[in-house]
Amino acid sequence: MSVSEQDLQDFRQEVSAWMRDNKPADPGFLLPQSFMEVGTEQQLDFLREWQHKVWQAGYLGMAWPKEYGGGGLSPIFQSIADQEMRRHGVPICFNVIGLGWAGPLINDIGSDEQKARYLKGILSAEDIWCQGFSEPDHGSDLGSAQTRAVREADEYVINGTKIWTTMGNYARYMILLARTNPQTERKYDGLSFFLAPMDVPGIDAVPIRKVTGEYGFTETFFKDARIPAESLMGGEGQGWKIAMKTLQYERGAEAGAAGGLAFERIVIDDMIEQLRDMSRDGAPLLSDPVTRDHLVRLIMEEKSIALGDKRAAIAPLTTDYPFSLQLSSKLRITEYARRMRQFAIAQQGAAGSLYVGDEQARQGGFWQRAYFNSFSATIGGGTSQVQANIIAEHILGLPK
């Protein structure tokens, strides 16, 4: 299928017009800044309706197979649609664990039956997905996960505790990493990967309150929960390999995601805008030399990230440490976001002490909330420190 420049331009105009016309009005309550912060039914309903609408309009899952609810088109269309969503500042497509990780996985290695059963519900937002990897005692060291899965006839019986389960209380399915064999020589070889239903007896998802005061993830208890044996993905013992593959999608290192925005986009221009009317020592803040110097550093950092994405696509300019830009992208972006937002609060003077709920808080406490939420990305999906280990070992070749 060949796509002309003209087709793409026309398409961009079409999506752009649609986003402009369909961008929801401010609902009058706080929306989550990312898919990891859906904490109320109100937010859930709103986001579900929005994602459904985007999918129905044909702007989600554009590159997924047609027979499973996708558009059957080249991925270039989805990336244009995503760009336009970003440009118009529309809400996120919140079913990210389905859209971005479980979905691509099922598309890549699932059976036709699994594709038929799961993919459409992911796109339409009817079926929310969550991820049951982390446990109270095993976070970064995921390979040591201890939640047990024991085969009994045509079922697996699950016992154990998962934690930090984003949308665990709303999800219909979970991608679950559990131990089918506790006696393997290598801890990784005892793990298996399941597409587990959440609506069976014995599963209890208890919301956990976050640093922001809001909700978004749960501690998820399994007590003799019985799931069908066909929930197993791949074979027993292949869980680690499959989990690593999902993490590749999650970190953007492998393509296949359905598209849509996972995070509210917060850029430095937004921050500079709010600094314009602030003062320090009785003079405009933006005339303060120390502030200016710090701001330029941040601008450079944001710009270097954008330029890095461009350079990553130019082979002769990446010969030294191939893939360093791709592999370090999460670390660079999330750490930058964290520092930028922290800086934004620091500039507010006494008003920096106010939080969401105070009517005098600047932009309703937006930056305070955004700063706290930035840790979801520096911790979730592999902490920055673990990312640094991976880069050091895989790109620089340093020993473990």
Binding site: D293, L295, M300, K303, A392, L398
Partner: protein, 376 residues
């Protein structure tokens, strides 16, 4: 408009080919042994390598075809300079390229054309600009009097001793002017060599007092102010290119050591206190390279655009800090070995101190970036 705005970045086949050839050339001509062999030589560079480099046409890459250059533009020299930085290849390439750009951009003249032809043929040229240590000052006391005679001196003149041509930044009859001077014209004992922190580099103070200029050697065109501004920006960019190359080589050598040295029964590279800063350095180098080639993308023969100015300044601000950090950690991470003259870390940490002071340090550029980005 967004402060990020322009993020163009492209690299054509010519550039890719030049980059490959340059890396290969520099690797062969400038082994670490060769670099060390030149440290206390008078000229500081290998004249055979210089000859070959001129024969390859590199000095003419950014100069017009009608003068014998290849007319590709100064963007095409960025990869060469980065390769030189990586191999610590010394010599007056950057100095000569910049002097030629200044003369070219100041406007055509017979003497200027002679200088440019000479540069293409391999005669080094340099610019004599600074009088104080302050890159931000434009006061000028080294003046051309109404009769064309010079009075005063310039400091920090790069490659002064080997330059066949000197481009003096001065004033004549109340307006900015360049004086194009041949080395033979210098008064006796005019050059006093500096002792530089970077022993691969050469620079001197030159006393021009008493030198008599022919009228045609004085260039005082309308475009001169813009040419001087662009010269400073291109200087920042090429210094950034060299520093980025040096930082990459520095990281490589540190990483190599971390993979071989053992303490407490383990390779020291397995300690995160060493590992994670190496990742920070890698990321900083990646940022430097992105700025470099972004800036190169925005360059042409015409006066530099606002976006190009921003890009050159960002490249220098980033590269200076990157090399300072990479080399500082290189010394520390080699332990006492890193404190020795024999360890290559000394070459990089010395290069870093020198390089940050070429065409303004990071703070100098951030200050100007703030004005460009926040005030307009």
């Amino acid at each position: 408009m967004s402060v990020i705005a322009n993020t163009k970045l492209s690299f054509d086949e010519d550039q890719a080919m030049i980059m490959e050839v340059a890396r290969e050339f520099c690797r062969n001509k400038s082994t670490m042994q060769a670099v060390r062999g030149l440290l206390d030589s008078a000229s500081g560079f290998d004249s055979n390598a210089w000859r070959e480099l001129a024969d390859l046409g590199w000095l003419g890459i950014a100069l017009p075809e009608q003068l014998g250059g290849s007319g590709l533009g100064v963007a095409h020299t960025v990869a060469i300079v980065e390769a030189m930085g990586r191999s610590m290849l010394s010599g007056p390439f950057v100095t000569s390229t910049l002097a030629a750009q200044l003369v070219l951009r100041a406007g055509s003249s017979a003497v200027g054309d002679r200088l440019l032809r000479d540069v293409i043929a391999g005669v080094p040229a340099t610019v004599a600009q600074l009088e104080s240590a302050d890159w931000g000052s434009d006061s000028c006391a080294c003046l051309i009097d109404d009769n064309g005679q010079l009075q005063g001196s310039k400091r920090f003149v790069a490659d002064a001793e080997v330059a066949g041509w000197l481009v003096l930044v001065s004033r004549y009859r109340g307006a900015p002017a360049l004086a194009l001077i041949q080395a033979e014209q210098l008064p006796p004992a005019a050059i006093k060599t500096h002792t530089l922190v970077d022993e691969t580099k050469r620079a001197a103070t030159i006393d021009f007092s008493g030198l008599q200029l022919a009228p045609e050697a004085i260039i005082s065109t309308e475009g001169l102010s813009a040419a001087l501004r662009d010269y400073a920006l291109l200087g920042a960019l090429l210094s950034a290119a060299e520093a980025t190359g040096s930082a990459a080589a520095c990281l490589d050598s540190t990483v190599e050591y971390l993979k071989t040295r053992k303490q407490f029964g383990k390779l020291i590279g397995s300690y995160q206190a060493l590992k994670h800063p190496c990742v920070d350095i890698l990321n900083a180098i990646d940022a430097s390279r992105s700025f470099l080639y972004h800036a190169a993308t925005l360059l042409g023969d015409e006066p530099l655009s606002r976006d190009a100015e921003i890009a050159c300044r960002m490249a220098k601000a980033q590269a200076s800090e990157t090399l300072l950090y990479a080399s500082d950690r290189a010394v520390q991470f080699h332990g006492a070995m890193g404190f020795t003259y024999d360890c290559d870390a000394q070459l990089y940490i010395r290069r870093a101190q020198w390089s940050q002071q070429q065409f303004g340090d990071a703070a100098h550029h951030r200050k100007r970036l703030a004005a460009l980005l926040l005030d307009e």
